[in-house]
Symmetry: C2
Subunit: 213 residues, 2 copies
């Protein structure tokens, strides 16, 4: 992916993503955007679909030959957007004092985490290692997990990332705990896939997409 | 598609999509959902991706061999979701007195329609007949247009569908006007594609997805 030259668009405090020059690139005033030889794409999930379809020679991250899996992946991409609108919104409020209904955002995030948690817990019972069916991670994993892992920054009372610390911790989200613990601690036996997840505290500010308001 | 047996889930006034039995199918409490031989899929756009990938033998509605087009389609699927959250929310308020900030929803819808309108207007200049590049409509067209066409029911001051009536009407959304007028009035020379769009007044109540709150 070194063919992409990053363009650091400061969302905070400059709010460059709302400036006139940026709105000509993305009239929605949201980050991220990619521009590859004139193909300008906005929307995190659309960009993931494009990059995986174009550059994943194994065709496992977005399995275009498997309609059932495609449907599942897109279902969880939509879920990732819901996480952005709730957990990441809470982070924006906590980190940058965005004026929004933070209690509602936190409650929404917890509701989503419970759904994801249950999905992962059942997945464990069925030997499903990833969010979607199959033996490989997909862009659904890439889309959902960063914001789950960073959600502690949204000021949740029951922290997510504490679940991954040492000691006997009663896990609110047991499925997420197991899954993310596996991901961050060990490499998985999946076609040499190595995924580096962010953890709360390593990001100095909410990520670009979450700034897109 | 006759293999699907519809299950009429009354969202209003029964709010069956929030009932215990339905939450076991979709814990998000949203419509629509499909269940095909055990594959349960939620989310309108994910369902479109699945149906097109599985049943479109021409592979034009979701062109899986064209990464650039896939990226574009997914970008506009996300845009369709934004339309649902604004224009359709306004319809819910107008038709069923949903408690929401309707002025904000209407303003958001107008902002989106302006973006779509400009995109379509520029498309005209470039001989692009559909939302995305290429010679065929895609599921992006299917996703975006129904709610644009029905948005009048959201109580907009400047109606959308009046633009398609007889007489000299100053069109606020010239690109949308032309595009949708073509779609509803005439068949297009696109591989025998015939698309039937809803028009305001033909639906007695907001469609299932919009009820998903």
């Amino acid at each position: 992916m070194s063919r992409f030259r990053p363009n650091a668009t400061k969302s905070s405090p400059a709010r460059a993503h709302k400036s006139e020059w940026f709105l000509r690139i993305n009239p929605l005033g949201q980050l991220p955007v990619i521009d590859e030889a004139g193909l300008v794409l906005r929307d995190t999930q659309a960009i993931l679909v494009y990059l995986a379809s174009r550059y994943d020679t194994c065709e496992t991250w977005y399995s275009r030959d498997d309609p059932c899996l495609l449907g599942q992946i897109n279902q969880w991409l939509a879920f990732a957007d819901d996480i952005t609108r709730t957990a990441s919104a809470a982070r924006l409020h906590a980190a940058m004092f965005y004026d929004l209904d933070v209690e509602s955002a936190r409650a929404g995030a917890h509701r989503l985490f419970r759904i994801l948690d249950e999905h992962l817990w059942f997945g464990e019972q069925e030997d499903r290692a990833w969010i979607c069916a199959g033996t490989h991670p997909t862009i659904a994993d890439l889309a959902c997990f960063p914001y789950v892992m960073l959600s502690e920054e949204g000021g949740f009372r029951g922290r997510i990332t504490r679940l991954f610390g040492a000691g006997a911790i009663v896990s609110t989200y047991r499925g997420i705990h197991r899954y993310a613990g596996d991901l961050s601690g060990r490499s998985r036996a999946a076609a040499g896939t190595r995924v580096i997840w962010p953890t709360a505290g390593t990001s100095s500010r909410p990520s670009p997409r979450a700034d897109a308001r």
